[in-house]
């Protein structure tokens, strides 16, 4: 029986559970002996002219070795926008020189012998800022009344698509339009950002930093510091969560490397949570307008999505994410007419990056809210409206009006399985009883049907490298360009190799995150790892078997065709003659047994599913509690159900968190008001139920494993299902829409307004 598809517990865990993982701030490397601690001085003003920075007092403080300001980094070229379509004037200085653009904008760096000394001295750096009006929210940004980059002439970083034609909704019996907010949230990996750097006498720098792909980060270091990437040895230690916010490098990381050269000593930096919540990329932050039109029989004929993306102060990945939202605008539905358009706008806030789902949850939330709004308008059950409009099951590629080509899908089955598992009819009956009685605790039933794009770089990007070597002692090493930070690749990739070689999982070491050992790699993001990196390991194992077959045939003097893999032997045996064979280890003893390969999938994959969420809402207080979350997530063939379920669980929690609780807030002056975990309502165990998972697996033809991505499904499906459920709970009171997060105050006010109160 194949090990694939079985619940293998993680090989990573014994160390993690008894000694702890080794994160960047835990490193006790010889090269970091005597390292200075970096502490950033950041702007406390959202927007203003930087008049002066006086470090004289700080320089006198105990342990201070240097205070570095913009003048010192004048040799560094300001960071250009990461995409060619962004206004080229929107560059990012390494340290603010004449203007600050968000609370958290780096102004200076204090280098001290000890960590606590840095915090003391940073407070002694006197910064004089002449405030300018803050630009908070996309409406203020779009007005262009106050510009973040006057030389750009606008706050618009980029525009995508065209307005809908004037006749777009002509002929529709019913048209519903609704502005909605997909609010700004904070990714909050439990490990904040951290980096360390040490230069060697050979002119190479070794950098350790917490990230989701060492190779990409190294490339950015090279671009930013104008260095040959071969002179940069980038190591990704264990990483305490990423969720998209650790994709690539942050400028602070590269500055740590520059500082180590500047002072001629190793330097390390680990931010605290308050710094993290203003300094690390945020996610989502879209203002949307949906318009949906169709017939009273439930047929939807036209759908439009218009997005204003708040990008924060400097362009990062968030600037491009509206294009993914647009691509997935019509999702699982076969609407004849689909329109999407977006602008990306600069505001005096923390920059926006990718956050678990990254553009797709925003598409799904808009769409699934729109379908519910349409259903409410025509008075039809939302499940029925969905069934009427879902694309029929398909096994050949389907191209949508927005240009996405889905590999395969069966959305109706996903919805039916979720509704059946939930006991939909009985839930509606219970809801009716509570409404009839006028209970304080009303039941809400929400659903979503989703399709998402994973491995979006398949076919267009670099694919993924893998190497596999069997050693004479019978162990094996896998080198991968993916970059696990909780996903369990050490176990999963070992399973893939073990399945073809018979070498036990425990004897296979998976190496990643070291650019000297693995120079090429795409990292872990966009739910790409298994379908590219795992598939590359699978391919490598196949190639290794063929290499071994040729060698074994010579050694045993038999026809290669007569040799078959003997998993019990962990080698090759002569067909029909048990006990005659040679192990991979023996072959490795004769000559190095190593293959290096590269896998590129032809196209992205499109996992799909359906979620049903049951909430109880206290209509007197407005408080919503998630009672049940039932989820079908079809990600193709599952390699290790234990790991796949873990990915799903985590995503659900983040979806519930966005729908119910979490939001990054700024006041009108651009001051963040949620910059500690005492203020930011990070979801806890008490606010979640245990989840009900329903299985469905439609293999993709895009890789030999049949695997689609699973890392982001949870946020994509759960977020709108929870929001729809909360609104459904108070729909009978006249409420049609409540923006996320559906906090008690929001729900309470929505009910009051619907009831004609104030």
């Amino acid at each position: 029986m194949s090990i694939l598809g079985t619940r293998v517990v993680r090989t990573e865990d014994p160390l993690f559970l008894t000694r702890g993982a080794t994160y960047t701030d835990d490193l006790a490397d010889d090269r970091l002996v005597g390292a200075l601690h970096a502490t950033f001085v950041r702007s406390t003003v959202a927007h203003g002219r930087l008049l002066s920075v006086d470090a004289s007092a700080a320089l006198e403080a105990p342990g201070v070795v240097a205070v570095v300001t913009a003048e010192d980094v004048a040799d560094l070229v300001p960071i250009p926008p990461p995409f060619p379509f962004v206004n080229r004037a929107m560059t990012r200085p390494w340290l603010a020189s004449d203007r600050v653009r968000f609370v958290g904008d780096p102004i200076a760096v204090v280098l001290t012998e000890e960590r606590y000394q840095g915090e003391d001295a940073a407070e002694m750096v006197a910064v004089d800022v002449d405030p300018l009006p803050a630009v908070v929210g996309t409406a203020a940004a779009a007005s262009d009344e106050v510009l973040l980059f006057p030389e750009a002439g606008t706050n618009v970083m980029a525009s995508f698509g065209q307005p809908a034609p004037a006749d777009f909704f002509d002929g529709c019996e019913v048209v519903v339009t609704q502005p909605m907010v997909n609010q700004r949230v904070a990714p909050v990996p439990l490990e904040s950002r951290a980096a360390a750097a040490a230069w060697g006498e050979d002119g190479r720098v070794t950098v350790w930093c917490t990230n989701q792909g060492a190779q990409q980060a190294r490339g950015q270091f090279g671009d930013w510091l104008k260095m040959d990437p071969d002179l940069i040895h980038l190591i990704t230690p264990d990483v305490g969560g990423g969720f998209g916010a650790k994709i690539g490098a942050d400028p602070e990381y590269a500055l740590i490397a520059w500082l180590a050269r500047h002072v001629g000593r190793p330097v390390r930096w680990a931010e605290n949570r308050s710094e993290n919540l203003i300094g690390m990329l945020h996610g989502r932050a879209q203002d949307q307008v949906v318009t949906i039109g169709g017939r009273r029989d439930g047929t939807i004929e036209a759908y439009s999505l218009v997005v204003d993306q708040d990008c924060g102060s400097y362009p990062r990945i968030g600037t491009v994410l509206p294009t993914l939202t647009m691509l997935m605008a019509s999702g699982v539905y076969g609407f004849p007419r689909v329109h999407a358009q977006a602008r990306a706008l600069a505001t005096t806030t923390t920059s926006i990056g990718a956050y678990r789902g990254a553009g797709r949850p925003e598409a799904t939330s808009a769409l699934e809210r729109a379908v519910d709004l349409f259903a409410a308008e025509i008075g039809m059950d939302p499940a029925e409206v969905r069934r009427k409009n879902l694309l029929p099951a398909f096994s050949e590629p389907h191209t949508t009006p927005m240009g996405a080509t889905y590999d395969n899908g069966d959305y109706t089955t996903a919805l039916d399985r979720a509704l059946d598992a939930a006991g939909y009819a009985e839930l509606r009956a219970e809801q009716a009883r509570r409404r009839e009685r006028g209970d304080a605790r009303q039941l809400g039933i929400g659903m979503s049907v989703y399709v998402e794009i994973t491995g979006a770089d398949n076919g267009a990007g670099t694919g993924e490298a893998a190497s596999l070597e069997v050693h004479p002692d019978g162990t094996a090493t896998v080198l991968t360009g993916t970059s696990p930070h909780g996903q369990g690749h050490a176990t999963a990739w070992a399973m893939i190799a073990s399945d073809q070689l018979g070498i036990p999982v425990e004897r296979i070491t998976v190496v990643h995150g070291d650019t000297d050992r693995v120079p090429q790699g795409g990292g872990t993001m966009g739910s790409r790892s298994l379908q590219q990196g795992g598939a590359a390991v699978h391919q490598a194992a196949g190639e290794l078997v063929e290499l071994a077959r040729q060698r074994a045939a010579e050694k045993l003097e038999v026809d290669p065709e007569d040799l078959v893999v003997d998993l019990g032997l962990a080698g090759l045996a002569v067909r029909g003659t048990p006990g005659t064979g040679v192990t991979f280890a023996e072959l490795a003893g004769d000559e190095q047994l190593l293959v290096q390969t590269h896998f590129t999938a032809a196209a992205p994959t499109f996992p799909f599913g359906a979620h049903v969420v049951v909430v109880e809402v206290d209509v007197e207080s407005g408080k919503a509690e998630v009672a049940r979350l039932i989820a079908v997530d079809d990600a193709g063939t599952i390699l290790n159900p234990l790991l796949a379920e873990g990915q799903r669980h985590g995503g659900y929690a983040q979806g519930v968190a966005q729908a119910l609780l979490e939001e990054v807030l700024y006041d009108e002056d651009g001051n963040p008001t949620t910059s500690t975990l005492a203020d930011y309502p990070f979801i806890s165990a008490t606010e979640l139920p245990s989840f009900e998972l329903v299985e469905m697996a439609t293999p993709t033809p895009m890789n030999a494993l049949g695997a689609k991505g699973i890392g982001e499904a949870g946020t994509i499906g759960a977020t709108p299902a929870v929001q729809n459920a909360v609104i459904d709970a108070v729909a009978h009171l006249g409420v049609r829409h409540i923006d996320m997060p559906t906090t008690p105050m929001r729900v309470f006010r929505a009910v009051q307004q619907a009831q004609g109160g104030n």
Binding site: L17, G20, T676, F682, A685
Partner: protein
């Protein structure tokens, strides 16, 4: 100032700044890096350790306050022969950890929950762990792990006797 603390069964005496947090003492003075620091507001619980039998957030305790006390960190939880504690074992079996950053604190907090209540309901487990945040697991498998660990009996709520801890 000088403090004497028994850490994972090993008594030690150190000269520390009065303001040094216990979390930083454990990490930087003792070199015990399993204890992580995930926030600065006593919100996340990643730094949870057991001090004199109680699970506490070590970022909220000065090292000086633990003077004369017994501190157990994740590194001190396995048995002297390296056998994992029932809570550690259950976290592995139930996939109660992903990135591992919250794990040391979560495991120590779970031991504390089981010390107070050897047979908790899921609700009681969730309430007991409310002060420990995890971004990866959605808590689903953590709850399962704690429930599973409870099957091991009273040992799941105990830390090893100080003198038995491996050095």
């Amino acid at each position: 100032m000088q403090i004497s603390i028994t850490v994972n069964g090993q008594q030690r005496t150190d000269e520390v700044e009065p303001r040094l947090l216990l979390a930083h003492y454990l990490r930087e003075v003792c070199g015990l890096k399993a204890t992580n620091i995930g926030c600065d507001t006593t919100s996340c619980g990643a730094c949870t350790v057991i001090v004199d039998g109680l699970s506490v957030k070590s970022c909220t305790v000065l090292a000086a306050q633990a003077d004369g006390g017994q501190v157990t960190t994740l590194e001190g939880l396995a048995g002297p022969d390296g056998e994992m504690h029932p809570v550690q074992q259950a976290f592995r079996e139930e996939h109660g950890l992903q990135c591992g950053f919250c794990t040391p604190g979560m495991v120590m907090a779970a031991v504390g929950v089981l010390a107070d209540n050897p047979d908790p309901t899921d609700r009681e487990i969730r309430e007991g762990l409310e002060g420990n945040l995890c971004r990866c697991t959605g808590y689903h498998n953590i709850v399962r792990a704690v429930r599973s660990a409870a099957q091991a009996g009273p040992a799941a709520g105990q830390v090893p006797q100080a003198q038995e801890v491996a050095r």
